[in-house]
């Protein structure tokens, strides 16, 4: 019995591998699954899935290309766990899935990950980390002199995703938030962390470009200074949009009796206007030819809300929030974002530029899904289900001669004839190691999150500009490989210390071959090939029969492989 006799811990990570497994039987069940994979049409797929399938297939037909075959079931399972809850499935989760022979096992797994209480926390944490990066970047709240509370941002987002807050309401929260940034303070509202540093300058230029880009897919940053040659946006429009943020202020709150900023409060205050008349609160900007023009709040579609700067008369951000959630750009932007998350590429490049100068690869599908998402009351879990149950998401990542021309890495618009392999995000690697091997799983959820943030920080390079631009060296380059070879996280993952994951496997009564199989399934969602078993035997000999050392070497090799780190 592998792992038999291990005390079940309160922590779910132990539970997930603690269900005593007979290694021999495990391997057999994986085999029989491969031989007798159930076929047949899954029941009760939402109709939106069909729409996606036929729309995608139409493009295949237009270009005379063929899709790759359906992906191996366990690989698909690994892919789904990574994309949906941000980590690979554990050994026993894979085994559970392999045991399910029903025709609709895929849909059942999707629903389990989305609806079962066991996964609520992880689902929320994963999407919170994704959205934290979208809203404040990987560096947000980590710099000196920042007003952002990263904890506060994540807390707000975790609550949203745990309760499956409709997307339109989440956007309204983020655009209109007032309150304090830091958890535990009076008037705390974590949503304020999105804008708190973006209105720190009086002209709120960062808020303007971030809100329009993130929620509407409209890139306006260049039009701040000049009319954009390829973009319908004109300088006038930029400042009209900007005018919505002119009542908003970030106020510093200090630690008692010191000059140290403890947290901040985001408030709306009367805007007197640059002309000094709050009834007609105007702002001025300069055209490149030196002519000064005036702007009042006007939404992108031309809707005006009046010119008063008094919050009691017109709360500019609230008016903006209402119009944003009415806009069909909102629908298209989130569909494009979610599609790109799961499929590797969106319908446009970049995904957050939906202007008419940047045509989409599947315009009708994008419109259709946007409209369907609105009809579904902005329920993100439904949108996720449509995408992951679609045919293209289920295709093999193997590239066939019939579809090798479908290669977005060379700049071709994606046709989704095969799943596009991609490297795990840093967060996904971290969570996968934490869950698959329980490296570094100590303390409260918040403490773990902080530790993860610290770990991720080593890969973040900030450019030190006002916009807070940053990049990541977790991009398949040498520093990343060095971390995988020698880093502390990997050392913990392959540790043979008492109580470690690997040590428990090593101490099991099953034979070395079964243990090697266990490692391959846990890491790569497949069994070891015969030549890989031979290497394991050779490793055992060169380690002078020390099976623990052999397992350690093998696990190191698995974790460092392309097959492990590439979501495929």
């Amino acid at each position: 019995m592998i792992l038999a006799g291990i005390q079940r811990s309160k922590r779910y990570t132990i539970a997930m591998m603690g269900s005593a497994i007979v290694a021999g039987a495990l391997v057999a069940s994986f085999c029989s699954f491969q031989l007798h994979a159930a076929t047949g049409k899954a029941t009760e797929l939402p109709p939106q899935v069909d729409k996606i399938n036929s729309s995608i297939a139409q493009v295949w037909k237009d270009y005379s290309i063929k899709p790759s075959p359906v992906e191996d079931d366990l690989k698909w399972c690994r892919r789904l766990y990574l994309d949906l809850i941000g980590r690979i499935p554990s050994y026993s989760e894979l085994q559970d899935y392999a045991k399910d022979k029903s025709a609709d096992r895929k849909l059942r797994l999707v629903q389990r990950l989305l609806e079962d209480d066991t996964y609520t926390e992880e689902y929320a944490a994963n999407w919170s980390s994704i959205w934290t990066n979208i809203l404040i970047g990987r560096n947000g709240g980590m710099e000196r002199r920042t007003l952002i509370s990263r904890d506060g941002m994540q807390k707000y987002l975790r609550d949203c995703f745990a309760r499956n807050r409709p997307y339109n309401e989440m956007v309204y929260d983020l655009v209109t938030a007032t309150g304090t940034t830091k958890p535990g303070t009076t008037g705390f509202n974590g949503a304020t962390n999105f804008l708190v540093m973006k209105v720190i300058e009086e002209d709120a230029v960062q808020a303007t470009s971030a809100v329009s880009k993130t929620f509407l897919g409209l890139q306006v940053q260049c039009t701040q200074c000049h009319n954009h040659p390829f973009n319908e946006w004109k300088q006038q429009k930029f400042w009209e949009f900007n005018a919505f943020f002119r009542q908003t202020r970030s106020l510093r709150r200090f630690e008692n009796g010191t000059q140290d900023v403890d947290f901040a409060e985001l408030v709306d205050q009367d805007f007197a206007g640059e002309g000094g008349n709050p009834e007609l609160a105007d702002l001025y900007f300069q055209l490149r030819n030196g002519v000064t023009k005036v702007a009042y709040p006007v939404f992108v579609d031309g809707t005006e809300i009046g010119k008063s700067g008094y919050v009691e008369q017109i709360n500019r951000r609230k008016e903006l929030g209402k119009m944003i959630v009415q806009s069909e750009f909102l629908d298209k932007m989130i569909v494009n974002r979610m599609w790109a998350h799961f499929m590797g590429y969106g319908f446009t490049r970049p995904i957050d530029d939906l202007g008419p100068h940047n045509p989409s690869s599947h315009p009708e599908l994008l419109e259709q899904m946007g409209a369907d998402f609105r009809k579904a009351s902005y329920d993100l879990k439904q949108l996720i289900t449509w995408i992951v149950m679609s045919q293209p998401y289920g295709l093999s990542s193997k590239i066939m001669p019939e579809n090798q021309q479908d290669d977005p890495t060379v700049g071709e618009p994606p046709k989704f004839t095969h799943f596009y392999s991609r490297q795990m995000r840093a967060e996904e690697l971290y969570q996968s190691l934490v869950v698959a091997t329980q490296a570094d799983r100590k303390g409260s959820l918040e403490a773990q999150e902080r530790r993860r943030n610290e770990w991720i920080k080593q890969f973040v390079v900030a450019f030190g500009t006002d916009e807070g631009d940053e990049t990541s060296t977790f991009n398949g380059s040498i520093p990343q490989s060095l971390m995988m070879f020698n880093g502390e996280l990997i050392r913990e993952a392959i540790s043979l210390e008492p109580g470690s994951w690997l040590q428990r496997i090593a101490n099991d009564r099953s034979g070395p071959n079964e243990k090697v199989q266990y490692l391959f399934i846990a890491g790569l969602a497949r069994k070891a090939k015969s030549e890989e078993m031979k290497v394991a035997e050779a490793l055992l000999r060169s380690n002078k029969g020390d099976a623990k050392a052999m397992l350690q070497d093998m696990w190191w090799a698995i974790l460092n492989s392309n097959e492990f780190i590439i979501n495929h």
């Binding site: 700049g411 450019f463 070879f485 490793l539 070497d553 492989s561 392309n562 097959e563 590439i566």
Partner: protein, 423 residues
């Protein structure tokens, strides 16, 4: 390479390797990750051109450093001082003033990208951002072109010190910048395992690695393998001592200074070791307010110390004739001083500084008008600077690359030579 030399000790290990070799043959792919040979570092030094890019992240106010307009409304408080060359520069660059006979100021830069991301991309690649194609940065291009002369180099050929630089684009991950901090420390470099055991692990890894590549799931799998090979080199090569800035004499360390200066010292050591392209980052130039205090008090002293030490040291060691130095940021800053005593982004008229590798020093190329707002005479671009540096490095300007989609791309995007630098 890690598996092409030195058999592991003992019968068991040899047995082990034969097993691996047999298993690997099943895939029909080589066990080896790469083919490079080790050579003595001494050989690498000789007659090899290199380039050092001093990257001023954030957009430096060149009007306050290299092209002053004292006495005009836009001029600001700084005075111009004479130098060892036939040019004047800011009074806050006294050490560089003694080195200007080595360097040329191109005062007629005129570009179009005044957004940080776009400007960074354009100045690093010579192309404006295009969502459908990733262009290689100059560091990757130069490394790619000069690497054929240094088959024995184990250090990554493109090193970025203290910043992120830009990526290798369609040249592939093998040409991506190797990022280190300015003190040369490399995270996670030390392996806790003996080399034999590491080698066995690598062999086991290569089997999984090659098996996955054979499944044809995209080029990313092959890229990963190339990086593994380089990582192994980085972990095991003696050449990596070049990163140990601390080995320098105290007087030298003092001359260069900390932070950016340390990065410059590291760049010199890397060039000596044969690295073709090193980028050193000095950030924090995005001064929308209070610019002159910050320049005078912190930024220019740091720049002056590090840059002058580098130029002087390279010249004294006879390395400057083979090493091109490029100083630039993503753009300049507005000649007009804004309401908060800062300067905003300005790409229309600004300066870069180049020198070494046979380029003419002590001169200013081109000029701006009285207020610094426009270029007078012929304007130069990122492409032109790159073309000139390529010529200095002996890289043919007819060189073309093929993007992944098969599109031919001229080196330096077809930029023209700045002929004054070669007169």
């Amino acid at each position: 390479m890690w598996n092409s030399y030195k058999t592991p000790q003992g019968m068991d290990r040899r047995h082990f390797m034969s097993h691996i070799a047999g298993a690997s043959a099943m895939y029909g792919t080589s066990l080896a990750f790469g083919q490079s040979l080790r050579a003595q570092a001494d050989q690498l030094k000789k007659n090899h051109k290199s380039a050092i890019l001093l990257w001023m992240s954030g957009g430096p106010a060149t009007i306050d450093i290299w092209d002053l307009k004292p006495g005009t409304t836009n001029g600001g408080p700084f005075k111009a001082i004479s130098t060892s060359g036939n040019v004047q520069i800011s009074e806050h660059m006294p050490l560089m003033a003694k080195q200007m006979h080595h360097m040329a100021i191109v005062r007629s830069m005129s570009t179009r990208e005044a957004d940080h991301n776009r400007g960074r991309y354009y100045m690093h690649t010579g192309y404006v951002p295009d969502p459908n194609i990733e262009h290689p940065s100059y560091g990757a291009v130069v490394a790619h072109e000069l690497m054929s002369q240094r088959s024995g180099l184990d250090i990554p050929p493109f090193v970025s010190v203290g910043g992120a630089s830009e990526g290798p684009g369609f040249l592939g991950m093998a040409w991506s910048p190797f990022n280190v901090s300015s003190n040369g420390r490399i995270r996670n470099l030390e392996s806790k395992k003996d080399e034999d055991r590491l080698k066995e692990r690598m062999a086991s890894l290569s089997l999984i690695e090659n098996g996955f590549i054979a499944q044809k799931r995209g080029s990313i799998a092959e890229d990963h393998r190339k990086i593994l090979a380089k990582t192994y080199d980085v972990m095991t090569s003696k050449q990596m001592d070049a990163f140990k800035v601390e080995l320098e004499p105290d007087a030298v360390k003092e001359r260069y200074g900390k932070g950016f200066g340390e990065g410059c010292l590291l760049a010199r050591r890397l060039v000596e070791a044969g690295v073709p392209f090193v980028e050193v980052d000095l950030g924090g130039w995005d001064m929308h307010r209070g610019i002159h205090t910050e320049l005078a008090d912190t930024k220019l002293p740091a720049l002056d110390k590090g840059m002058s030490a580098l130029v002087e040291d390279l010249a004294q060691r006879g390395l400057l004739e083979d090493t091109a130095i490029i100083w630039m940021g993503e753009f300049g800053r507005t000649p007009r001083i804004n309401g908060e005593a800062g300067r905003d982004h300005w790409a229309r008229a600004w300066s870069v500084v180049v020198g070494g590798a046979g380029m003419k020093g002590g001169i200013a190329v081109g000029a701006t008008n009285e207020n610094g707002t426009e270029v007078v005479g012929e304007p130069y671009s990122s492409e032109d600077v790159m073309a000139s540096v390529c010529k200095a490095l002996g890289i043919r300007l007819e060189t073309t690359f093929q993007s992944k989609s098969g599109r031919p791309m001229k080196i330096a995007n077809g930029g023209k030579l700045i002929t004054d630098l070669f007169a």
